[in-house]
C-alpha cells in the first residue's frame, strides 16, 4: 500500500473473490440471477397470456395497454414502491424487470403466432392435430423467430437495467458504479461496464445460436 492507487488488473485480482459479500464474482452472480430470472419468468408468463390474448381478442388491447404503462414507469420508483412489500432483496429488482420483459414478449407471442398463415393452421386442424399438439408442433415453431427476436431485446435490456437496482443496494455489477461514485476511483467502473457489456453479448450470442438450432428453415430461407 501507500504507493498510490492500484492498477486495473491489480484491483481486479484483489477484488475478484474476496470470500466476502461484494466481491466481483459475487456481484456477477447476483447480476446474472437478477437479469435472467426476469427473462425466463417473463417468457413463462407471456406465453399463456399471449395465447389467452389470441384466444380472446378482446383481452389484447387492455393487456398490452397495461404492460405498456408499466413499461413507461421508470424503474427506480418501481423499486422504491416494491421495497415496502419485498424489502431490500433481489426480488424487488426481479419483479419490475419481469414486467418489462412481459411488455415486450406478450406482443411478440401474439404477433408471432398471428403470423402463422391461416391455410397452415387449417391444414393442421384438417389432418387431425389436437389443439395442444398444433400449438407445440406447428404454431410455436413458426412463431419462434419473432419470439426469439423479442427475447434478445429483453435479455440485453434486462442485463443493463439491473444496475439501476444499485440505488436500493441490489444492483449486481451496478454496485461497482455506486462504489466508484462515493469514492472517485476508475477501475470498478471499467470492470462494471466491461462485464455488463460482455454478459449482454454472451446472452445475445446464445440466443442467436438457439435460434439457428431451433429454426433451421429460416437459415435455408435466408440462403436463397
Amino acid at each position: 500500500m501507500g504507493d498510490g492507487p492500484p492498477s486495473l488488473w491489480e484491483w481486479i485480482a484483489r477484488n475478484w473473490d474476496t470470500g466476502r459479500a461484494g466481491s466481483i464474482k459475487d456481484l456477477l452472480g447476483d447480476h446474472l440471477l437478477m437479469s435472467l430470472v426476469p427473462v425466463v419468468a417473463g417468457l413463462a408468463l407471456a406465453l399463456p397470456l399471449g395465447l389467452a390474448c389470441i384466444r380472446w381478442r378482446l383481452l389484447y388491447q387492455p393487456t398490452s395497454a397495461l404492460f405498456n404503462v408499466l413499461y413507461a414507469l421508470p424503474s427506480l420508483p418501481l423499486f422504491m414502491m416494491l421495497i415496502s412489500a419485498t424489502g431490500l432483496s433481489p426480488v424487488t429488482v426481479i419483479i419490475p424487470l419481469t414486467f418489462y420483459a412481459m411488455a415486450v414478449l406478450i406482443p411478440a407471442v401474439v404477433d408471432g403466432i398471428g403470423a402463422v398463415p391461416d391455410h397452415v393452421r387449417q391444414s393442421a386442424v384438417a389432418m387431425g392435430f389436437t389443439p395442444l399438439r398444433r400449438l407445440v408442433r406447428v404454431e410455436l415453431p413458426i412463431a419462434a423467430p419473432v419470439v426469439i427476436a423479442g427475447l434478445r431485446v429483453v435479455a440485453v435490456s434486462s442485463i443493463s437495467l439491473v444496475s439501476v437496482g444499485a440505488l436500493i443496494g441490489q444492483g449486481g455489477l451496478g454496485m461497482l458504479f455506486t462504489r466508484a461514485y462515493q469514492n472517485p476511483f476508475l477501475p470498478p467502473v471499467v470492470v462494471g461496464i466491461g462485464l455488463i457489456v460482455l454478459l449482454a453479448l454472451v446472452a445475445d450470442g446464445l440466443l442467436v445460436l438457439a435460434q439457428r438450432l431451433l429454426t433451421p428453415w429460416e437459415r435455408a430461407r435466408r440462403a436463397t
Partner: protein, 352 residues
C-alpha cells in the same frame, strides 16, 4: 360412401350456408361439388371432417355418423388437400408428407419410407425430400399436398379447390395426375371447385350447388351437359355446352383414310387438294397444298382412340386442309380423319 342426409348449416347471424342438402358420394368415385361463391360447397366439404358441424341433419361415413367420432381421430382417417397446399413452412418436404403417419404414431423410419414412396407416386423427384416447402414451385407444393393427404392411405380424400392457385398449364397437369392416381388408388374423393370445366373433367358425378346452399342438380358430367335441370345450371355450364359434350365421345369409331399421306420430300399424286407429309420417323411434318409448292403448313393432331371428339374437331380446325391427323401414343401418324368422317361421327353422336 359419404351420405349427406338433409344437412343444413345456419350461422348465428341467420345466414344459411347449406340448406337441406342430401347427396351421396359413392365409394371409389370422384364427386365434385361445384357452384358460384356462396353456394356452400366448402362448408359442405368441411362438415365431412367436422371442421364445421351442421346445424341440422347428419353426415354418414360408410353408415357411421361423423358426429359420433372424435374430430382428431376422424380427420386422421380422411385426407385433406387445400388451395395453397397448407404445407408446414418449418418442416422438410418429407416430414410434411409424413405428418399424419407421425400423428398416428408410426415410427420415424417407416413414416419417412412411406413419404418417399408417395413423393415418387405424385411425380416428384425424391431429391426434393430434404427441401423446405418455400423452395418448391406452386405446382410442386400442390403435389406435396396431395402426397401428404395420401400418406396414411385414407379411404376418403377431401379436396378444396386444390388446383385453383396455380397457372393453367400446371393446373392441367395436376388434373391429369389426379385422374391417373385415382385410376390406381380408387379413393372416395369429394372435390370442391368453382370451375365447371374442372368439375366436368374430373367428376364421376357432379353436384351443382346454387347460392344459398341448395342442390341444383346431381348427375354425371355427360348428362349434366346434355340435360341441365334448369336455367341456373344451363347458365352455369356456359355457352359452349354442345362443344364440351364432344369430350365424352370417343374417337374410336372415327373413320380414317390412309391414302392422304406422302413421304417427306416426296411427290404428290392424285387430285387431292391437300396431302400430309410424313417424316421418316412416322411423325407428321405438315400439309402440302397441291400445285402450290412451299413449306408444309402445320397439322393439328389428336391421339386416336384416346382423345375425345372435341380434340379431333379442334385438330381439324387447326389444319389448313380441315382434316385432323390421327396419331398413336408415340406421335406417329395412323391416318387422317377427313371433314366428311368427322361430320358422320358428329351426326351419329347427335343422334345417340
Amino acid at each position: 360412401m359419404i351420405t349427406f342426409d338433409a344437412v343444413t348449416k345456419r350461422y348465428p347471424d341467420g345466414t344459411v350456408a347449406v340448406d337441406a342438402l342430401s347427396l351421396e358420394a359413392r365409394t371409389g368415385e370422384i364427386t365434385v361439388l361445384v357452384g358460384p361463391s356462396g353456394c356452400g360447397k366448402t362448408t359442405s366439404l368441411r362438415m365431412i371432417n367436422r371442421m364445421i358441424d351442421p346445424s341440422e341433419g347428419r353426415i354418414l361415413l360408410d353408415g357411421t355418423p361423423v358426429q359420433s367420432v372424435d374430430p382428431p381421430v376422424l380427420r386422421r382417417g380422411i385426407g385433406y388437400v387445400i388451395q395453397q397446399a397448407g404445407l408446414f413452412p418449418h418442416r422438410k418436404v418429407v416430414d410434411n408428407i409424413a405428418t399424419v403417419p407421425y400423428l398416428l404414431g408410426w415410427d420415424r423410419k417407416r413414416a419417412r419410407g412411406r413419404a418417399m414412396e408417395l413423393l415418387e407416386r405424385v411425380g416428384l423427384d425424391p431429391g426434393l425430400a430434404e427441401r423446405y416447402p418455400f423452395q418448391l414451385s406452386g405446382g410442386q407444393q400442390q403435389r406435396v399436398g396431395v402426397a401428404r393427404a395420401l400418406a396414411a392411405d385414407p379411404p376418403v380424400l377431401l379436396m378444396d379447390e386444390p388446383f385453383s392457385a396455380v397457372d393453367p398449364v400446371v393446373r392441367t397437369s395436376l388434373q391429369d395426375e389426379l385422374i391417373r392416381l385415382q385410376a390406381e388408388l380408387n379413393k372416395t374423393i369429394v372435390f370442391v371447385t368453382h370451375d365447371i370445366d374442372e368439375a366436368i373433367k374430373l367428376g364421376d358425378q357432379v353436384a351443382v350447388l346454387r347460392v344459398g346452399g341448395t342442390l341444383a342438380q346431381l348427375a354425371d358430367p355427360k348428362t349434366l351437359l346434355a340435360e341441365p335441370a334448369d336455367d341456373f345450371v344451363r347458365e352455369f355450364l356456359g355457352r359452349d355446352r354442345g362443344i364440351r359434350r364432344l369430350q365424352f365421345i370417343s374417337t374410336d369409331r372415327l373413320r380414317l383414310r390412309t391414302d392422304l399421306t406422302v413421304a417427306e420430300g416426296g411427290e404428290g399424286h392424285g387430285d387431292e387438294p391437300w396431302l400430309l407429309a410424313v417424316g421418316s420417323d412416322g411423325r407428321p411434318v405438315g400439309w402440302l397444298a397441291r400445285g402450290r409448292p412451299g413449306e408444309p403448313e402445320p397439322a393439328g393432331t389428336y391421339r386416336h382412340g384416346r382423345d375425345s371428339m372435341r380434340a379431333a374437331l379442334d385438330a381439324a380446325l387447326l389444319s389448313p386442309s380441315g382434316h385432323a391427323v390421327a396419331v398413336d401414343e408415340h406421335g406417329k401418324v395412323v391416318g387422317v380423319a377427313t371433314r366428311q368422317a368427322l361430320d358422320e361421327a358428329l351426326t351419329e353422336a347427335a343422334d345417340g
